[in-house]
């Protein structure tokens, strides 16, 4: 089950247990993503988009089904295995940026490399990414001194500094104004086009979804359109 896809998911189910009640979040998701694709995932709140991301990103294990990410089978993977997946294979960009508030932008980026077990100094290609992101002059500031747009660019830099196979962007423009949203989306598209970076992006915004090569729609824990 590879067929050249970097992500292959079959009949993925996830059930959360809240107290004594089982709450199904995913009810049989099938999805294949080829390398280098920029995929937009849209759907209403509670449709299972974030849960799908959390499973692909190794933040939580699936309840059942088949999930293969960059050649690694996620079902049955240990906690340590999922930690290793997050170190190098997948990287997140969150709606709320999620930078470490005590560290400068530079150190936020360095932490990601450090945790991935990479040399502290990124290569020249990362300088190109920083130039593309337009934050080279803001790296010595802490998140509190950066605008929302700048914080999200730092978060993107932090995600890319480990050369991940897959970038998972969970509503990356959700907390940004129109101008910054456009800038971030163009950066993501640029990264995809120039570097062939595989990107999965959750969004509520159809205009944002239009930046992707393909859009899938989720509802009630299933993909209902665009498989």
């Amino acid at each position: 089950m590879n067929n050249g896809h970097i992500i292959q998911i079959r009949d993925l189910r996830k059930v959360y247990r809240l107290g004594k009640v089982d709450v199904p979040a995913l009810r049989g998701v099938d999805l294949s993503v080829p390398p280098g694709e920029f995929l937009a995932i849209v759907g209403p709140s509670g449709s299972g988009k974030s849960t799908l991301f959390h499973i692909i990103g190794g933040l939580t294990p699936p309840t059942s089904g088949t999930v293969r990410v960059a050649g690694q089978e996620l079902p049955g993977m240990t906690g340590a295995g999922r930690t290793n997946l997050r170190k190098r294979t997948v990287a997140f960009v969150f709606q709320k940026f999620n930078l470490l508030p005590n560290l400068t932008a530079r150190d936020n980026i360095a932490v990601a490399r450090y945790l991935a077990g990479m040399d502290s100094k990124p290569g020249p290609e990362f300088e190109e990414i920083l130039r593309l992101l337009g934050i080279a002059s803001r790296l010595d500031h802490k998140p509190s001194a950066l605008s929302g747009g700048e914080q999200q660019r730092v978060a993107i830099a932090r995600a890319l500094v480990r050369n991940p196979a897959i970038l998972l962007a969970d509503e990356p423009t959700g907390n940004l104004d129109t101008e910054n949203s456009k800038a971030v989306l163009e950066i993501l598209r640029d990264l995809n086009e120039r570097l062939g970076q595989t990107i999965l992006m959750i969004t509520h915004n159809p205009e944002a979804a239009a930046y992707g090569h393909r859009t899938v729609h989720m509802r009630d824990g299933r993909i209902v359109e665009g498989m």
Partner: protein, 366 residues
Amino acid sequence: MTAKIVLENLKHKPMRSLLSILLVGVPVTLILCLVGLSHGMLEDTQRRTRAIGADIIVRPPGSNLLSTGGAMPAAIAGALEKRPHVKMAVGVLNALVQGVDLYAAGIDLARFNRISGGFKLQSGASFQQPDDVMIDEYYASEKKARVGSYLNFLNRQWRVCGIYRGGMLSHIVFPLRVLQDVTEHANQVSQVYVKLDDPANTDAVIHSLKSDPGWGVYKLYSMDDFMALFSTNNIPGLREFVWVIVSIGVVIGFAVTCLSMYMAVLQRTREIGILKSLGASNAFVLRIVLAEAFIMGVGGTALGVVMSFGAWWLIRTLLPASIPMVIVPIWWLYALGITLVGTLLGALYPGLAAARHDPIEALAYE
């Protein structure tokens, strides 16, 4: 990078960090002061006893290092002077005059001066009247007393007739006869200091005395053996007391760190989620928390050492005679070990709680 994260965490909430370090430092100061006091009192007594210049000390049957009061016949000194190699024997009566550890000595000044070389008077003169007392410079400083001042001891007023240079026998000295009367120890002394014709005869004289049934009941020590007794291990209960204080130090270090790190972990729940989303392992998260506790332990110990110097200066200034505290540097290392045990144990629970955080829940934490 771990160090940077830990330092930035500490700097992010400076008041919490400083308060935690202060609270860790307080029991360190407590431990160092207690140890400094016990060592200081022993060393002070040891130094003052050695300065007398005797070769042998004879004490009553059943006495121990701490029980210096009462009672054996003063005539023992005369009997000892008839033994071979004994050049001189001087009886001294001790009396507790203040608190639990400030003893005064009753002496026959002329004889005592002959065995010891004499007190070095800084001001005033030796005993002139029955209610005269001589005090040393430390006690004079502590009580702000001068020659002619009156001090209350043993429910009586005593006139300070002379102030001598400290460092020998006792901080307070009375005429022997007067002290015997006041304390109802007529013709009795607490110990006898024996000077030999040659210190090389010390063991022989002690052996001779011990083999004599009449002397065997008394405690006989060479001055070197007597000095060797001045150890915290030889003070009944002192070692146990120090251990109790050390345990309290560990518990306080544990509680302060546990509370502080638990609060820190709660405040940083989201950051823990971020680290985990970046691939931080449970061990890494635990290491960050323990490293922060380690720094708090080291900082608290350093602050505790500094504060112990403050306590030392304060005690030395206010109570130079009553509480002879010293600084015991080797205990800085012990205090560091004790503190690190407490702080690392205290950080273990919050650290494990942080390491076990579910990353999704942590990322959703507001």
